[in-house]
């Protein structure tokens, strides 16, 4: 079921072995961990050479304050021609949660990256308009971080 995806990963590896870190095959899905400085190049190669022309989803996650690297960003690539999905994962440390934006490759990344920045606090470099999207612009903190309390620090007022 995932042989074709492994072929893609091999092609990716042969294009530049540095792009591919850990490869995981579980539950019928393939996850490739990409070093953060190579994510843009890897995405560009996958889009232009292997037909992954759509970014289905991009979401961030907090693995917990005690973890290192603490943050992750998942790129769910999809192809409108061969209909396969591939997940790329970038791990980011707490001190420097920055990764290059993929907005130049897929316009849809704009809002996904803004949402990830808003809720998880990952900074996307070279993003054209990186500001909060769901929460108010003067909101304090990033709500989806594990150390952010469920009910917030104080009642938020819209004034």
């Amino acid at each position: 079921m995932t042989e074709k995806l492994h072929e893609f990963v091999e092609t990716l590896k042969s294009a530049n072995p540095e792009w591919v870190g850990d490869v995981k095959d579980a539950l019928g899905e393939v996850t490739v961990t990409v070093p953060r400085e190579h994510i843009f190049a890897a995405c560009e190669f996958l889009r232009d050479s292997l037909g992954f022309d759509m970014l289905a989803d991009l979401c961030g996650g907090d693995r917990g304050p005690e973890e290192d690297p603490r943050f992750e960003v998942n790129y769910h690539l999809f192809s409108t021609t061969h209909h396969r999905r591939l997940r790329l994962k970038v791990l980011l440390s707490e001190d420097d949660p920055k990764v290059e934006s993929v907005t130049p490759l897929w316009k849809t990344a704009d809002w996904h990256e803004r949402e990830t920045y808003d809720l998880v606090g990952v900074v996307f470099e070279n993003h054209p308009d990186l500001r909060r999207i769901l929460l108010p612009s003067d909101f304090d903190g990033h709500a989806l971080r594990k150390d952010y309390p469920l009910r917030g620090y104080e009642p938020y007022s819209m004034n």
Binding site: L27, G61, H76, T80, T108, W111
Partner: protein, 406 residues
Amino acid sequence: MSSAAETIAADFDAIDEPLETQMTLSMGPQHPSTHGVLRLDLRLDGELVVKAIPDIGYLHTGMEKLFEYKKYQQGIVITDRMDYLNPLGNNLAYVMAAEKLLQFEIPERAQVVRVLMCELQRIASHMVWLGTHCLDIGAMSVFFYCFRQREKILNLIEAASGGRMTPSYFRIGGLMMDLPAGFDRRVRQFMDDFPEAMDTFNTLVTGNRIWQSRTKDIGYISKEDAISWGLTGPCLRASGVDLDLRRDNPYTGYETYDFDIPVETGGDVWARFMVRMRELEESYKIVRQALERLKPGPIKADAPKVVLPDRDDMRKHMDSLIHHFLIVAEGFNVPPGEVYHAIEASKGELGVYMKSNGGPKPERVHFRGPSFVNLAALPVMSEGEMVADVVAIIGSLDIVLGEIDR
């Protein structure tokens, strides 16, 4: 949220004599044609839209955060409230992601019922779309005909699950309960009347010259742009991309049903309208086929530690009672892992990213809502159009703010 206004204000400073040429119109969040609480910052040159900036977040309730604090089975209830016009689709995406982590096999009858209910829900969702889309453009009467049909479907959903808009009918491992007696007869009754309603819609809207002139060549988006902006569902198919997850990434046995995928190449409001109108007929076909396949059988997976036992079992067997107590009180553990499961909801690809670390609560649940992604493309479609056409374009996107803001 207010920073969009700041951006616009900054843009204004760059113009030499702003009031001479252009003005800003803040549309929403209480404007009825924005389908909820969407606000648009429109910069206008006369009646032409020069720049459109959607401003969202007014309905943000932190659902993704809430999932992390609820057990897996409690999360189903939250999903009802996302895309409230397609709650069964949300239920399905969520439970299927959890089932993928648990590696469950779902019995045949439960799969057929899921398909049946989801397609009924798709018709109901499209009915709201058609009614409000027409209402926005000024065809008031269609709304009443649409809601009459939708009401019948909501009654069916209520008969099956007890809830009209918040059914929570699909559970991890199967269904909440079996369909009530005589359900298939009631569905058949609805199906027998539905073609006549479709004729009414076609007479009222499709062949209407005012409708056509309000929708043709409005809000164009090209095939390449549609893919780059991540459009899915009817919006993508209206731009000439033949993609439907029910056929291309099949789930719950959709690959065994016989249906066509309507594709239009216009890329405008009219094309999106036509795709959805033809989709209604395809959903109709699928419901008919699902009714034929409805055979008696189990509706829950054989997993006593995850799936709630039947009431009758609990009265007779002590282990069922213990399992029931443990599932409700402590939940069930889901093996560690991460999945992304996508279904074809009525508005497009509804994806659920679910990550488990082995406990009874998920570590991360992320919903990729089709409305969220489709709305992001609104500026491309509406820039260069008239203000009145923005209303038509929003209607053609079929957005639900509950899903966008989550």
